[in-house]
Structure formats: C-alpha cells, structure tokens
Amino acid sequence: MNNIFVYCEIEEGKVAEVSLELLTKGRALADQLNCKLEAITIGYKLDEIGKQLFPYGVDVIHVADDKRLAPYTTLPHTSIVVNLFKQEQPQIALMGATTIGRDLGPRVSSALHSGLTADCTSLEIGDHEEKKENKVYKNLLYQIRPAFGGNIIATIVNPECRPQMATVREGVMKKEIRSASYKGEVKKIDFASMVSPEDFVVEIIERHIEKRKVNLGAAQIVVAGGYGMGSKENFNSLYELAEVLGGEVAASRAAVDAGFAEHERQVGQTGVTVRPKLYIACGISGQIQHRAGMEDSAQIISINNDPGAPINSIADYVINGNVMDVIPKMIKYYKANSK
C-alpha cells in the first residue's frame, strides 16, 4: 500500500521511452520513501512485458490484457486506473506528459479528486507546513515546473489528496537500468469488473503512427534557432550548419509559433528536452521554459546580437553578432579544416 505507481504507455508491445524514464525516477523516489515501485500496463499481448520493465527496479507489474484495451482509448483505461488506485491507494502516480498521459491524467485526477501537476521539470521529496492549520506534512512530492510563461518556477504540493499525480515530458528524466536481474511480481488486474460497455462508445476508425522523423533526443549536436532568426528562409542556414556538423535543427517555442520550424523540433518545457555535446543557440533570447529543455547541454554557444540576451548567462561561448553573418563563417572554416 501507499507505493509509487507509473502508468506505462505501450505501442505495439514496446514500452515508451518516457515510461522507462519515469520508472527510473520512480525507483529513486521509492528508495527515498522506502516503498515499492509498481507499474501499470494496460493493453494487448502483454505476456512478455516484465522483461522490459523489471530491470528498472519494478517490484509489481499490474497487467490488464485484452484485445479491446489496445490501442489506448480514454474511458476503459481511465476506469481501470481509477479502480486500481482505489484498491491500491498509491501515494504518488506518474505519467508521461504525452497525448496519452495528458488525456488520461486529468480524467483520473478528476474522478479521484486528487491534484495533478502537468509538465513537471523536477520531482523531489520534502516536507510542507500549512501555517494556518499549524500542520506539517512529511515527505510530500514537490512537483516543480516553470509557470506563467516561464517567468517563475512554481513548487506545487498536494497536502491532503492521494495519489499525488504528476506528468513529465519525454527526455526530462534520465533512463537508467537498476539491475538486469531485478525480481518483481506480476499481478493480473480484474478489469472485467471495472470496465462497462459504455466505456467503448468512442471508436477508433483509423490510426497512422509514423516513425519519428526528427530525433532531437539522440542528436549530439543541436543547432537551434529562435524568433531572432526572423524568417523561415533564414532557418535554411541552420539546416546547412547542422548537416555539415552532423547535427539536428531545433527551435524555440517563439520560432515554432511564428511558423519558422515544425512543432516536433521545439526544445523546452513544452517541447523536447535535449542534452547534446554541443548546443548552438542562434537568435534565441532564452526564456526559462526554453532553457529548461537544453541547459544540461555539455557546451553551449550563443549567437545573438543582443548582448543582454538571458541565454548568454548560461552559455560557454557568446558570439555577439548577426547569425546570418556568423554561420557562413563557421561552415566555411569547418568545411576547410575538418578531416
């Protein structure tokens, strides 16, 4: 009882990266709180799912395995998770901040009247004092996220309601195997008593899931452009530099909103989190929600004609100048001098 639960997303038998990252974080929190880590898997043909999950330090896997449960639809998954939580009384529940987690999470939190914090960038354990009631809560989950356009960082707690729920985007937490031989148990969920025929009123007619075209998370070199690039055409020089260096092009939210780059290239709190060897920020002012997605990069170069751009304060190298002048120079030197 009162363990940490992670809802695992499964696409064609494979557990999503974000779920494995959350299991890694969940394991660390469980060690700190001295409780168990439990995984929820709802889908079809899940006999072998333990092989993927146990190495992350999972103590219990709850399985609901039925043809009607894959692919994900809102109502049956909600019914199962809500009933399971009523039975098991978890203290913390984590989900990916994905189209599934952000569809399921709020629905579950509403049904259980438990608080949910979206898009956390950090999760910690700590105490909380309610001064008015003169009450101290021990070992709460601090759900930490930028808010209000990234100008502030808020720490959210749920003193009374359980589970304490949070969603986290892919790439924010690190994925790490606990032990290849970690032993846990599998428990079947008695889902037949949890779902009703009305849970299947929404019908999936067609589904096209494509392999991701852009894989920012895996790129060792990221060339990122911001609103300061000025136009979609100017982004072409970033594609050229990225191609020459063997990197990938990313963009800030402002640049994506302005139509300079597609959404899947967005780095930041509401986009992808990256930790490349080298991050070249071009015409990016560096609001905190952008920095949240790239500040762990090993080296950062900022190219900006505003010497006061906030990004410069976390950069290793600041090139004060016009991006459109600087990039051709970088390309020219690299082409002439790389082996």
Binding site: T74, L75, T99, R102, P106, R107, S109, S110, A111, H113, S114, G115, L116, A118, D119, H128, E130, P146, A147, F148, G149, N151, I152, I153, A154, I156, V157, N158, V201, V202, E203, I205, E206, E210, K211, R253, A254, H263, E264, Q269, T270, Q287, A298, Q299, S313, A315, D316, Y317, V318, I319, N320, G321, N322, V326, K329, M330, Y333, Y334, N337, S338
Partner: protein, 291 residues
C-alpha cells in the same frame, strides 16, 4: 434538418508568448498588468470548429462560456463578432484561487444549468498554465466521453461526430457519440476574422455589471434586443458545493514561487570576425566537440 447546440469553453489569458522586459517588475515578479489580455489562442481554434458546424447546420447555436473576472466579457463579445450566438460569464470571488480541478467543477456546474446540449468544444490548453487539464476534467465531471488533441471535425451527422486527432507521431480518426467534449489543438484551422455585420450587431452587448458601470440611458435597448445581454452568473446562479470551489476545493497548493534568477556563467566573448570565429571552430574541432 438536425441542429446542434454547442458550448464553447474559452478563457481570457495574459499574453505570455511575448513577455517583454517591461513585463517584469523591479523586484523580479511578473507585472500582469503589462501583459495584454487575449482570447486564449487554442480556444479560438475551438470556436472555428464550432462555427464550421454552424456553417453546415445554420440553425445550430453556439454559446461561449467563460470563467474569470468582469473584463473577461471581452472574449464573449469577441466570439460574438465571429459568429457565436450568446455567452455566459461565470464570475465570483468564490472562484478565485481555483486550481484546474476546482475550475472544472465550477464550469461543469454552469454547464449543468445550461441544460441539454450536443457538444462541448474547447482549446486543448491555455497559454498561461499549459496544463491541458480543464477539458478532460469537465468531461469527467459531466460523465461524458472526451476526444482530446482534435485537429479537424471530418464528418458530423445525427448519429455522431468523426474527428481527426493529432498525436505525437501520427493521426487517429475516431467516431464519438453525442454529447461529447472535444479539445482542439493549435494545429487546427485558425479562427475566421471578425465579421463587420456582427460587430455592428453585438458591439453594445454587455453584462449587467457593465451596464450598471456605464450608467447608460438606453436601458430599453437591452429589453428590445435581448441578444445584447451577456449573461453574468455568480455562485448564486449555479448549484454548487462550496467545499469544491476556489482555494478550498483545490487539492494542489502552490508551496512556493521562485523568480527566475540567472546565475551568470563565465562565458567567453567571441567577436563576429573571421579570425575569432575560426579560432573558436578550431578549438571545438580539437576538443572533439564537433567533427
């Protein structure tokens, strides 16, 4: 011909997308007054989807429901200028401090008062919080199906509605019954512009509070043209359990707020000259950061 009764949930938000330097006060806190209040962008995408249904079935009605302070009536008028029929402003100090769950509760009670409807349409998320929680939570409170991340309504008839959802790496087409709640993403069609005829028709549309504040002599205008009355509901107009409202009804508490303070790193300044850029590139190649 079938007609649809559609409720569009909308929010007035501070425009956090372009936070300029004057938006921060000297003490580093956000100066909300310096940010313009706008119609939440994805709620406009949602309104457009509702208007398209009305284009196809002109007898359909669109009601805008918003919760917020008195000035949030601006977005109801904005919606009317684009084709919505009427609006309700849910406003009361009792709602202040609500988290997403308490907000969803208040909105769901207002919807319950509205009676029968076919569809609730709202934006996926609001730009001031980016939580994407209110749509699904309203759906749960009303015990209705939800279809999130909708990009397009591809078909609609008496029996149901077919929608295209935009997922991270693909699309899904689903069919849902009435009534349902749908949340619309920013990649959906942008909202049509204001219509000059509708601006003329609705420019004097006001809430009771606004009429009182304006101290107008033309009160007969509002009895002669009932469509100019924007309804204003307080907690007294909706049946609520006070324990579920505002701060009390919010399971999440803000423990603390940290202003973002940048800790300057010792960055090396590089001039944009050939010589300095070449030197930087040489160092990056030598240290295997690139190449």
């Amino acid at each position: 011909m079938k007609t649809f009764k559609i409720i569009v949930l909308a929010k007035q938000v501070p425009d956090t997308r372009n936070v300029g330097k004057d938006a921060m006060k000297a003490d580093g806190t956000v100066n909300r007054a310096a940010l313009p209040a706008i119609f939440n962008p994805e709620d406009l995408n949602a309104l457009e989807q509702a208007l398209r249904i009305k284009d196809q079935f002109p007898e359909s009605t669109i009601t805008i429901l918003t919760m917020g302070p008195g000035r949030a009536s601006d977005i109801i008028r904005e919606g009317m200028f684009r084709g919505a029929d009427d609006g309700i402003l849910l406003t009361d100090r009792a709602f202040a401090g609500s988290d997403t769950l308490a907000t969803s509760y208040a909105i769901s009670r207002a919807i319950a008062k509205l009676g029968k409807f076919d569809l609730i349409v709202c934006g996926r998320q609001a730009i001031d919080g980016d939580t994407a929680q209110v749509g699904p939570q309203v759906a749960e409170k009303l015990n209705l199906p939800q279809i999130t991340y909708v990009e397009e309504i591809t078909a609609i008839d008496q029996k149901g509605i077919t929608l295209k959802r935009r997922l991270e790496n693909g699309v899904e087409v689903v069919k849902a019954p009435f009534p349902s709640v749908i949340t619309v993403t920013g990649s959906a069609a942008p909202c049509r512009a204001r219509n000059a005829r509708l601006i003329m028709k609705y420019k004097h549309a006001k809430t009771v509070s606004e009429r009182q504040a304006a101290n107008e002599d033309y009160l007969s205008l509002y009895s002669d043209r009932p469509y100019l009355n924007i309804q204003e509901w307080t907690v007294n107009e909706v049946e609520v359990d006070f324990a579920q409202l505002g701060l009390t009804g919010s399971p999440t508490k803000v423990k603390k707020i940290d202003n973002v303070v940048l800790q300057a790193k010792d960055a090396r300044k590089v001039e944009a000259t050939d010589a300095e850029i070449n030197l930087l590139m040489k160092e990056l190649i030598d240290s295997h950061a690139i190449g």
